[in-house]
Symmetry: C2
């Protein structure tokens, strides 16, 4: 029987599971720090997201178990006649749930949430080394019209 | 004598000047609508930006005259140990002020504001057709490590 996929905004109790997913990734494994309880930097970032009506941390659950996550940020702007954007970041599917359509379901959910919020555009940047991700976003209809440029200012 | 460049957050009285700058651009001219007073879509978008502590509409003034603008959005996130990002959008220099270092000054200001706010990364996407802009961001130290992908969901 196919599993049932549901969605919820992440409560703070799910923070360790989310950090696990962020870290279990070719790029993420060098960037994240796993600890129990989670490091203060994650707890503070979670609180900032959770208290901001323009930021949502969305979980996909497969038969009730955490299977994937993404962050959705709603950004107002003047350009394009005052277009709001839904921006997607930190997309992950938990390893044992990969290949089961979780990513696709998460994106369908995030795109619907963006539309409901009045956004006219959904956008993301993907590291050029992630060729599988690029193909996945292509298949969803995303167009790689832009370069995503980053400047590190970490002290 | 070189002009004096200053910065301020845009008050609503500056909205017509900002829309003029957004529209006076190879891509913007097909996307924006000029009218006096500005169309409701711009007034509403301005209010959304102005009321959000994570969004700033920054003007550069050259000897007190509006010379350029950009939007800076502060985005909290869990990835990279809870890294905050400063995201830059809708960068313009007014035509008669081009070639005078206004863009560079705006970016220096936005990068400093991002650092002050605790961001570890400044990011933007630039349309691949804007080769001059790409070179400008390169010179500032931005790295085109990502593809910027967009999905239109306008109804």
């Amino acid at each position: 029987m196919p599993s049932i996929i549901t969605f919820r905004e992440a409560p703070s109790a799910d923070l360790p599971s989310i950090i696990d997913m962020l870290a279990d990734d070719a790029l993420g494994k060098t960037r994240e720090t796993l600890s129990d309880p989670p490091a203060a930097c994650y707890v503070e970032a979670f609180a900032a997201i959770d208290s901001d009506p323009n930021n949502r941390l969305i979980l996909a659950l497969s038969d009730g178990q955490i299977a994937g996550c993404l962050q959705l940020t709603f950004i107002p702007g003047l350009s394009r006649r005052g277009l709001w954007r839904g921006q997607i970041e930190s997309v992950r599917t938990a390893r044992r749930f990969r290949g089961q359509g979780i990513g696709r379901a998460l994106f369908d959910h995030a795109i619907a949430a963006s539309r409901e919020r009045g956004c006219g555009l959904v956008q993301l940047t993907t590291d050029k080394s992630r060729s599988d991700a690029h193909a996945f976003y292509d298949a969803l209809g995303f167009v790689a019209s832009h370069d995503g440029m980053k400047l590190s200012i970490e002290s």
